[in-house]
């Protein structure tokens, strides 16, 4: 079981690195676009599309990493005032809601990606990106988020983690 949790966390960390690299690349591309247009007076054709798609992809692919880091904000007012056992129950319920949402989006996102692939959709711009590529980030990122949720639930159920990022003394 530790192996599973560890493997998922490694995968999520890998997602984080990928997303961060995409952010870094976007900064360079935006600046490249401004320089090429302003100083060299050349056209900027692909940069706008590229940055838009890459940043959206970074968002979805970074999603499991952020979940692992507990970076998705939540309103923890109620969990905070509850006794430990109820808090644990709430944590499972919250995970179920999150898992359901990410699952539905991953499934519908996969439908969208496959449809874009089958039908050969491209972006309606000069650059003509094959749309299944940027769309694929949605099922991939949210699918891995589901996996990270499963690992979290497992860690919670076996007492490896405490609910809502609590410290042991808040128990």
């Amino acid at each position: 079981m530790d192996t599973f949790i560890l493997a998922v966390r490694t995968l999520s960390r890998l997602c984080g690195v990928t997303a961060a690299a995409m952010m870094g690349a976007s900064v360079l591309v935006v600046t490249h676009m401004v320089v090429v247009r302003y100083f060299l007076n050349e056209s900027t054709v692909w940069q706008t599309d590229f940055v838009t798609y890459v940043l959206v992809a970074a968002t979805f692919i970074g999603c499991p990493y952020v979940l692992m880091q507990r970076g998705h904000v939540n309103v923890d007012l109620v969990p905070l005032v509850l006794p430990h056992r109820a808090r644990l129950g709430l944590a499972f319920l919250a995970a179920a809601v999150g898992l359901l949402f990410c699952g539905v989006l991953a499934w519908k996102g996969l439908d969208l990606t496959l449809e874009a692939y089958r039908e050969g959709w491209q972006s309606a711009s000069v650059w003509k990106v094959d749309m299944w590529l940027p769309y694929a980030a949605l099922p991939l990122g949210l699918g891995l988020t589901c996996l990270q949720y499963l690992a979290d639930v497992l860690a919670l159920a076996t007492g490896r983690d405490l609910p809502f990022n609590m410290r042991p003394d808040e128990r």
Binding site: A19, M23, L55, V56, V66, V75
Partner: protein
């Protein structure tokens, strides 16, 4: 079922689901999907992936991660620390001096960015740790910047003003000018409150020494502020010098910051660069996921005709013009609790503006009042983007603390709306002066 009833149901469900402690993005998204399936059938699920994707899949969204990155770069370097050290030395006599300077910084940043979460993220990343280090209570440090960040959509350029201009066919240039004076007024109101609050509570908030600083100590620190000033001037130049659009400016600004940090502070190590990038990634993923989910949420509310029906029933009431304005403000306030600014404007402005104009109100003045209402919505739960941005920056501060800290500033904004009702000229004077009277 009556759209008003559906609206109430959705509101209650949202509050309930989010209070379970579900991540805001996922909770909001599931509520949206649930109601969509309930009222429009399973079939309606076939477009949710695209709607979710389209919520963040456009170039104007780029400014959010880029400005977050800019803040992260500065915050990780001594540039931020030096700036606050300098402010501390100069403002140590003023109670709450650092809050005041942070609010000023929010005002300046609002002039660079068209988005409130972006403004909030950039200043918060630098300002909050510095304020807390100097003994400011967490609620004050976080609340003031959550509120100051909302100015991003009032002080031009502004994404929401552009959306309003198109939805209502009003002049975008005039709208930008209309927001300038009220924006400055809100900055002043925020500062006044912070001064009063710090003085009232007798915080010993400034400087670490009781003796204060000599003039020499104060002058000595000034050169260290230059890199930070260079960034601000550089970014302002990129935007207003015709080099880049507002969205692009954010990207150039981020690179400028990173280069500055690497060159001047010699922070060239993969580890530190990773810290900057991963911090920025965490915050931008969190905030963009919430924005994508609120796109689904707005889609559900729009599809079920909830927001439009309420706006319509207000439009059909025959009441005194100030009662009408009061009701509209109340309505906007409540919609602002649940929906992000752009969604509110798209769904309500075209319905409300004609009746507002019939009642003799100026459309540009109304845009400002509407925008301030939207600013309030950004720091009120359950959908308060700025609250979540701040919470992402300071994970050790609980959301209710931030909320309580921001609440007095909601009061300032309500006061701002009242002042605007008494002196509408605050919004209409500048555009009239610069672009001639009328619209």
């Amino acid at each position: 079922m009556d759209p008003l009833l559906i609206g109430a149901l959705i509101g209650l469900t949202t509050v309930f689901i989010l209070s379970l402690g579900v991540p805001v993005a996922f909770g909001l998204g599931l509520v949206a999907i649930g109601y969509l399936v309930w009222f429009d059938g399973w079939f309606s699920l076939s477009v949710i992936a695209e709607t979710f994707y389209a919520g963040i899949g456009h170039f104007s969204m780029v400014s959010i991660p880029m400005f977050i990155l800019m803040g992260a770069a500065v915050a990780s370097s001594p540039a931020g620390k030096d700036l606050y050290e300098a402010l501390d030395r100069w403002l140590y006599r003023v109670p709450g001096g650092l809050i005041i300077s942070n609010l000023g910084a929010c005002g300046i940043f609002a002039a660079l960015s068209g988005s409130s979460p972006a403004t909030c993220a950039a200043i918060g990343k630098m300002g909050i740790p510095e304020m807390r280090k100097r003994g400011y209570p967490a609620s004050l440090a976080t609340g003031s910047i959550a509120a100051g960040g909302t100015l991003g959509i009032l002080i031009p350029p502004s994404i929401t003003m552009i959306v309003y201009g198109i939805a209502t066919e009003t002049s975008i240039g005039r709208l930008f000018f209309a927001g300038l004076v009220p924006g400055a007024m809100l900055v002043a109101l925020f500062m006044a409150w912070s001064l009063f609050d710090a003085w009232r509570k007798g915080y010993k908030l400034t400087g670490q020494s009781n003796t204060g600083f000599t003039l020499w100590q104060r002058v000595q620190i000034l050169p260290k502020v230059l890199p930070f000033l260079a960034i601000i001037v550089g970014v302002l130049y990129v935007l207003y010098g015709g080099i880049a659009t507002p969205s692009e400016t954010a990207g150039v600004g981020a690179l400028l910051c990173i280069i500055l940090v690497v060159l001047i502070y010699r922070m060239w190590s993969a580890g530190r660069l990773w810290t900057v990038l991963s911090d920025a990634t965490r915050e931008s993923v969190m905030i963009l996921m919430i924005i994508a989910a609120s796109e689904l949420f707005s889609y559900t509310l729009s599809s079920l005709f909830v927001t439009q029906s309420i706006a319509q029933s207000i439009a059909e009431m025959e009441v005194n013009r100030w009662v009408l304005m009061g009701m509209i403000n109340l309505f906007l306030l409540v919609t602002g609790f649940f929906l992000p600014p752009v969604a509110v404007i798209l769904m309500t402005a075209p319905i409300l503006l004609p009746i507002v104009m019939d009642a003799g109100f100026d459309p540009y003045w109304f845009a400002v009042v509407l925008t301030i209402n939207m600013e309030i919505g950004l720091i009120t739960p359950p959908v308060g983007l700025n609250l979540y941005v701040i919470n992402g920056i300071t994970p050790d501060v609980r959301l209710p603390t931030i909320l309580w800290g921001a609440l007095p500033y909601v009061g300032c904004m309500v006061l701002g709306i009242i002042i605007l009702c008494v002196f509408p000229g605050l919004a209409t004077w500048l555009p009239d002066l610069l672009m001639g009277p009328g619209g």
